[in-house]
């Protein structure tokens, strides 16, 4: 009996020691949670659209641009200091609060970096390589577009002469959160955007499963946008060409019913123009109960222009915006084909190929003007094709986050420079061309914790 007991004891302790050892403790606690390690894990991260495709980094630019105004009483009721302050381009913008534009973009960049590092570690067969490349391309694209968006708010406008010295944004390229953030130069920032977008374009499929996912077309469109900002019109044109080569369709506004609260449908597959979906929150200052579209913008549309009614509606005495491609109050800030046409038109105009520029404009306008009122433009009858394209950009890309970027880059050309003004509670505020205030300050929490250089306001 004694022997049996000893034996049992030894056996049990032995069991505890060996079989219950490492494997026993390696069981994961929550079945729903995984340590991301497979391609589908990273795809699932990229598919989290309420992280990856919303709250894009455009709020400050939309607030600060010249597309709308708000009345004094609506302005004074705003709760968020950054909205109040950004509207009047104040020196102190955030009053120590956090900033969504900055935070959410870097949050997505961390997701992209985690996916990229994880995907590189996976060894797989050649057949799986395409699947991996697709996810890797998505991650690269997400990183690139977020860097791009951040650069439009927190870096000086790209200037070839000073880009190597102007401070850019922190380029987070690894998932290790313990690494200190430092600011790269503007040049490096743009180089990184292009590098990531090019790599993405090479491995992404042409047709994504859903338009929330980045595609080859999206990467081309992003490259075209980036080169346009950098003044590299040849590249802007060639990537716009590359993008349009895969499809040229636009929505015909003659078929759009402008009577509902929002003119466009939320069924994105029905909108052939969409290339990549991403949106910006409709923040308090731009809600339909506050916003009043700018008179000088509204004055640009002629009587046959369907956009006047598709984009805008009336709410009591104010003109409100109802033309988001998202089909609701949220602003579309993703990539759509109309913008690519306008990029190509501008690049052609700037490079002297006015015929081609007008051809693209005509194609766009045919889809925007009433069938009766549409008259094709003729290049030879126009003094300044470029000015026409620039004006068309403003009319077409309303509240898409693009206007702020255009103001920044066009201010360098005296022909297009514009001084913005606001009147709030009997005070006059203005934003002069090329003012340092076209570069928003970096949020205080970032400065406090990583001690990077702040952008000057004066």
């Amino acid at each position: 009996m004694k022997a049996i007991t000893y034996l049992a004891g030894i056996l049990l302790l032995g069991l505890l020691q060996s079989s219950c050892g490492r494997e026993f403790l390696d069981e994961k606690r929550d079945k729903k949670q995984v340590t991301p390690s497979t391609i589908s894990d990273f795809q699932a991260m990229m598919d989290y659209l309420s992280i990856m495709n919303v709250n894009s980094c455009h709020e400050l630019g939309v607030i600060g641009a010249d597309e709308y105004s708000v009345s004094d009483d609506r302005w004074s009721l705003l709760r968020d200091p950054y909205q109040k302050n950004a509207y009047i381009w104040a020196d102190e913008v955030y009053e120590d609060r956090d900033l969504g534009d900055w935070n959410e973009a870097y949050f997505r960049i961390l997701y992209a970096n985690m996916a990229l590092e994880g995907l590189r570690k996976i060894s797989l067969s050649a057949s799986e390589n395409n699947v991996r490349n697709n996810v890797m391309g998505q991650a690269l694209f997400f990183r690139a577009i977020n860097f791009y968006q951040l650069a439009q708010q927190f870096c000086k406008p790209f200037d070839q002469a000073t880009a190597a010295d102007d401070p850019g944004i922190p380029l987070r390229l690894e998932q290790d959160i313990t690494l200190r953030s430092t600011r790269a130069s503007v040049l490096h920032t743009y180089q990184r955007i292009i590098e990531d977008a090019l790599e993405a374009a090479a491995i992404l499929p042409e047709r994504p499963l859903v338009k929330y996912r980045p595609s080859k077309l999206a990467a081309f469109a992003l490259l075209a946008k980036t080169y346009l900002l950098m003044g590299d019109y040849a590249n802007a044109r060639s990537y716009a060409d590359a993008c349009l080569a895969y499809g040229s369709e636009l929505i015909d506004f003659n078929d759009v019913d402008a009577s509902p609260t929002y003119s466009f449908s939320g069924e994105f597959e029905l909108n052939p123009e969409l290339i990549f979906i991403c949106s910006m929150r409709n923040i308090s200052i731009t809600t339909t109960s506050r916003i009043n579209m700018a008179d000088d913008l509204l004055a640009l549309y002629d009587e046959h222009d369907l956009r006047r009614n598709v984009y805008f509606g009336l709410s009591s005495d104010r003109t409100i915006f109802k033309g988001s491609y998202m089909g609701n109050s949220v602003f579309f800030t993703g990539l759509a084909r109309d913008e690519v046409y306008l990029i190509r038109a501008e690049a052609n105009a700037r490079m002297g190929d006015e015929e081609k520029a007008i051809a693209d404009l005509n194609f766009l306008l045919r889809h925007r003007m009433g069938r009766e009122g549409y008259r094709p433009l003729v290049a030879t009858e126009i003094d300044d094709v470029l000015a026409l394209v620039i004006e068309e950009r403003r009319k077409e890309l309303v509240l898409r986050g693009v206007r702020w970027e255009d103001l920044r880059r066009l201010n360098k050309e005296p022909q297009f420079a514009k001084t913005l003004t606001r009147e709030v509670e009997e005070s006059q505020y203005s934003l002069a061309p090329n003012s340092p205030k076209y570069t928003w300050p970096i949020p205080d929490s970032e400065i406090d914790l990583s001690k990077i250089e702040q952008n000057p306001r004066k």
Binding site: M1, L16, Q33, L179
Partner: protein, 1070 residues
């Protein structure tokens, strides 16, 4: 149900098998005066049989046990050892002599071993069977309140109905984000189930392990203290004992007038009339308007004349919704408990068997439940030195909740009901009340081809059937083998499974169904949702755990001076928790169990009165959690000359919680202790004191946080827009995570005087909780952003919290002859402070006011408030200081106020607590009353805000009648005057100021218990051994409180505090 029958059958068979005890020899136990001593314990040394003398002092011995020596012990008497050669020694009589200088030996259990209190070094607080049974409550936990020093009940998080379990705190706090509740150990195994499922009649005693020497053996889970529950057992050779316990508890109806967030009908009607005059009411079908406003609208629209209006108005003014609710919705809660237990044993086996059945009705009509417990434990000793034990526990709980409570009468959501709401029509039928949608809109429903849309609260209980249940089964087995007289090897295994769930059946006529049908009725009259019953089954949750343990004990005495006790062991434990998805069936017919779930859940349908929605679909969410632990432990004690005891323990734990690196490491947790029995020293010559022991311990225990991971972790859900799986990052991963650690220093002294009338313990402790898991802040560009919705937190081991305090317990026998009067006093003092933590600097003031974050240097229980200056002399409005000026610029004040300038207005957990228990007994009558005291803490009360009663009923408060009305009032009130234009900042500076922070100090008479026993020793004709009659009155009321508002500081935010209850019971021992 099937289980119960099988179990009952098994129980009976086993019990019958044990009833047969062979022919026996009889002896008797006498005291010095020749009186028979009942209840003396006899234990045979070689057979190990233990039994007791009966009420006539007789005991019986099986001749097969002889020869053997028997030890006869009785509380307060010297133990006598007698050697019995054979049956010829009978009849035998043993005389015991009284002892005054020896303490009765109390064994305390840690779950791994039992140790005589005398030879322990740690801090143990024991609640013995008698103390435990002073209370007649259905549950175990509430019986511990006010009897254990250092154990606090935290009721700050109870919901409005006062429901939910209080959180237990053993000696302050030792964590920030992790589990803060003490570990519950039931019959030597950690217990993760519902403690309310345990039958209190099965409990023998409870021990609270408070310091490191006592608790460290539990390692990584002992950081918050350990509560060890020991259940009743049979004894070898014990005569069969049957005990039947029956009681009924009747409570008062709730006090609905306790909460002061209300105004009388007259005032509310005046407010509503004024608001109506101002055009404040939006006459939209979606907006529920109060009944009186509807009346005003009908008068305005000429639907009723002035006479009818006046009649209605008077009727409303004279109706009191609380009175209505008390009459029609509430009842006296009644709980009935009955329990039967049988125990006994023979030379080779012992058993314990119990059955208990409880049922209760809540104070809300149609709410209640029941519980069934079965318990069977059997121990065999097939050969000498080997003991095999098997046990089965089964419990089944069911509760139903169909009643309508006061808070269900509100128009929508959590809005309170109008004070003039009536529940009956003039003809006595159930009245419809404004609820969900506008009343006239609902009235029109039937004319629009919809079904009746009215909400009649009194009809509802009969139309819904909401039941929730839980079942729990525990099975365990133990084998214990003694060898070489020194060693004892124990193997133990336990399997536990609990299943819980519930369902609601809605009758087609219930408001829930009718409302849903109408909302989804299309313009063409098509019903998207069928007009039939709905069955909604909530997710079934299963919790399964298994534990295996092997342990070797060693005990040896060298000569007369050295005693050694040691053990080593290993333990492996797994707990799996799963949840199934919920189910919803429409067009459900409960008579033939048909229904369907085939619906179009994707289409968005237009709904009435406005908007659009999808058909509510059951969730497809599943979950499964697995917790695994692997532990090795050891404990050793050495006692020299019964005077000096040294103890030490060591434990190593690993789990699957933290991911690979930490698992491999594990963390050793240890303790060391020393005790000195001073009164045993030769130099100790004081006659007054017979027992004096000093104790000193130090050691570490751990705490678990299962929300963190060393690896990056992604959690999966489904993206509704794309129907693709989506993953979000829960944790960026931290490879160096480990247990939180709590280091406790304890010093204590136990003493008793020679007469044993005065006994006590005083202890001081100092707890350093370090390596606490907390969030650390990083630059947002890292992607670690604390305030995003789907954020990734960066949790690391870095924070620390410090607690210190003292516990004391005294027992004083004031009178001992005739009437015995005993006073038990307990007291505790505790304080804590966060000593390392990074509070987010940008944390908003609102966060500090609503749920304060941990702040360096402040208590975890700190409460923050705006400074309060007082009211303005001429306007009666709160004064604030802005830019060095005292004035009333609230907007600037609030805008410029920084979180760091908030005042710490106190702590919300009592720094001092105590209880004072008096017990009087005379012959067989015993009366005992417990008075509890709490002090050194504060709470925040509600009040009005200037003019805010015009913004909605949630702002009503009886302070309306005590507010500033004329200059000079500010001398005696802080309640601001009426403001015609409410300003939210003006309200903020008052509502969250120190003016509304009240002292919580109070003394309450918690309970009184009265018992009377009839014993066969006194009444020889009694057909049973003993009959005990008892009464127990609980929640008797507050004797003194510091606040003048009539608020019970333990129940600040509830609609009504627990009402008084009276229990009457009868216990019969056969």
């Amino acid at each position: 149900m099937k289980y119960q029958y099988i179990l009952t059958a098994v129980c009976c068979i086993v019990a019958v098998q044990n009833l047969s005890i062979a022919q026996t020899l009889t002896g008797k136990v006498l005291d010095e005066n020749g009186k028979r001593v009942a209840g003396a314990t006899l234990s045979l040394s070689s057979s190990g049989a233990t039994f007791m003398s009966d009420s006539t002092g007789n005991f019986r011995v099986d001749p097969r046990w002889l020869p053997d020596s028997v030890a006869i012990s009785y509380l307060g008497y010297r133990t006598v050892k007698v050697y019995i050669r054979s049956a010829n020694d009978f009849p035998l009589s043993v005389t015991l002599t009284k002892t005054l200088d020896e303490l009765p030996e109390v064994l305390v259990s840690t779950g791994y071993y039992e140790v005589p209190l005398e030879r322990s070094t740690g801090s143990f607080a024991q609640v013995d069977n008698k103390l435990f049974n002073r209370s007649a409550s259905r549950d175990i936990v509430s019986r511990l309140e006010g009897v254990v020093p250092g154990l606090q009940f935290d009721r700050r998080d109870l919901d409005e109905r006062g429901e939910g379990s209080p959180q237990l705190r053993v000696r302050g706090v030792a964590t920030i984000e992790s589990e803060a509740a003490p570990l519950i150990v039931l019959d030597d195994f950690p217990y993760e189930g519902d403690i309310n499922s345990i039958n209190p009649n099965d409990v023998e005693s409870i021990t609270v392990l408070k310091d490191a020497a006592a608790a460290s053996i539990w390692g990584a889970r002992a950081g918050n203290g350990v509560i060890v529950i020991k259940t009743k057992r049979g004894g070898y050779g014990q005569k069969m004992r049957i005990s039947l316990n029956n009681n009924v508890t009747i409570g008062d109806k709730p006090d609905l007038y306790y909460g002061k967030d209300r105004l009388p009908a007259e005032i509310v009607m005046a407010i509503e009339k004024e608001l109506f005059g101002r055009g404040n009411y939006d006459e939209d079908p979606r907006t529920v308007l109060p009944e009186y406003v509807e009346l005003l609208i009908r008068q305005r629209d000429g639907q009723i004349d002035d006479v009818e209006f006046a009649e209605w108005e008077t009727r409303l003014r004279n109706t009191d919704v609380r009175k209505e609710a008390l009459t029609h919705l509430y009842q006296s809660p009644i709980t009935r408990q009955s329990a039967l237990n049988i125990s006994g044993g023979s030379a080779v086996n012992k058993f314990y068997l119990s059955v208990a059945q409880d049922s209760y009705q809540q104070n809300v009509k149609q709410d209640g439940g029941n519980r069934l417990n079965l318990n069977l434990q059997n121990t065999f000793r097939p050969i000498e030195n080997l003991e095999l034990t098997g046990g089965i526990w089964y419990s089944k709980q069911k509760s139903y909740r169909n009643g309508i409570s006061f808070s269900d009468l509100g128009p929508i959501g959590s809005e309170p009901p109008s004070p003039y709401l009536g529940l009956l029509n003039a003809d006595g039928s159930a009245a419809a009340i404004p609820h969900g949608l506008r009343y006239p809109y609902q009235l029109e429903a039937e004319n629009d081809g919809l079904v009746d849309w009215m909400y009649r609260p009194l009809d509802e209980p009969a139309l819904t059937d909401n039941v929730s249940f839980s079942r729990e089964m525990r099975v365990n087995g133990k084998a214990s083998y003694r060898f070489l007289d020194l060693f004892n090897i124990n193997l133990a295994y336990q399997y536990r499974q609990s299943v819980g769930g519930g369902e609601t059946r809605y009758d087609p006529e219930s408001y829930f169904v009718r409302d849903m049908v109408n909302r989804f009725t299309q313009m063409d009259g098509e019903r998207v949702i069928p007009y039939g019953g709905i069955l909604s089954i909530s997710p079934a949750r299963t919790n399964t755990s298994q534990l295996g343990r092997a342990q070797l004990n060693y005990a040896q005495t060298f000569g007369k001076e050295h005693q050694v006790f040691a053990l080593i062991g290993g333990e492996v434990r797994e707990q799996v928790q799963t949840a199934q998805p919920s189910i919803r069936i429409y067009n459900f017919d409960s008579s033939n169990l048909t229904g369907t779930n085939m619906y179009d859940y994707k289409t968005t349908f237009p709904t009435r009165p406005a908007g659009s929605a999808r058909i509510p679909s059951p969730s497809a969410s599943l979950s499964s959690y697995t917790d695994r632990f692997l532990s090795y432990y050891g404990n050793a004690a050495y006692t020299y000359r019964n005077r000096y005891t040294f103890t030490g323990s060591l434990r190593w734990d690993a789990s699957n919680l933290f991911g690979v690196k930490a698992n491999q490491k594990g963390v050793p947790l240890w303790s060391a202790g020393l005790s000195w029995n001073m009164a045993q020293e030769p130099f100790f010559k004081t006659d007054a004191i017979s027992y004096l022991k000093l104790r000193l311990t130090y050691g570490s225990a751990g705490n678990v946080n299962n929300q963190v991971s060393s690896m990056p972790v992604v959690s999966y859900t489904v993206e509704s827009r794309t129907q693709l799986p989506r993953g979000y990052v829960v944790s960026a991963g931290n490879p160096s995570l480990q247990w939180e650690q709590v280091n406790t220093f304890n010093i204590g002294v136990d003493f008793a005087d020679r007469s044993q009338r005065f006994r006590g313990t005083v202890e001081y402790y100092d707890k350093q909780a370090r390596d606490l898991i907390g969030e650390d802040y990083m630059a947002p560009s890292t992607g670690i952003i604390p305030r995003l919705t789907q954020r990734i937190r960066n949790r690391i081991n870095y924070a620390s919290v410090y607690s210190k305090g003292a516990d004391a317990q005294f027992s004083i026998g004031v009178l001992t002859k005739g009437v015995r009067w005993n006073i038990d006093l307990i007291g505790g003092w505790t304080k804590n402070a966060v000593t390392d933590f990074n509070t987010q600097e940008t944390a908003s003031i609102t966060a500090y006011l609503l749920s304060p974050p941990p702040v360096l240097g402040h208590s975890r229980d700190a409460i923050y408030a705006y400074p309060w200056i007082g009211l303005d002399h001429s306007t009666g409005m709160p004064l604030v200081e802005t830019g060095g000026q005292i004035g009333m610029d609230y907007d600037t004040f609030v805008k410029e106020f920084r979180a760091e300038d908030l005042l710490v207005a106190g702590v919300t957990m009592p720094r001092f607590h105590g209880a004072f228990r008096n017990t009087f007994s005379w012959r067989d009558i015993e009366v005992s009353a417990n008075v509890q005291w709490k002090a050194g803490y504060v709470f925040r009360r509600g009040s009005i805000s200037p003019g805010q009663e015009y913004l909605g009923p949630q702002n009503y408060h009886m302070d309306y009648f005590r507010r500033w009305e004329k200059p000079g009032d500010e001398a005696h009130t802080d309640i601001p005057a009426y403001a015609s234009e409410p300003n939210s900042n003006q309200s903020t500076v008052y509502k969250w100021s120190t003016a509304l922070v009240e002292k919580g100090d109070h003394i309450r008479l918690q309970d009184v218990s009265i018992g009377y026993s009839l014993r066969r020793g006194v009444f020889p004709k009694l057909p049973v051994e003993q009959v005990r009659l008892y009464a127990y009155c609980n929640n008797l009321g507050i004797l003194w409180r510091s606040n003048k508002e009539g608020i019970d500081p333990d129940y600040v935010n509830v609609t009504s505090p627990p009402a008084r209850s009276y229990a009457f019971g009868l216990q019969i021992n056969f």
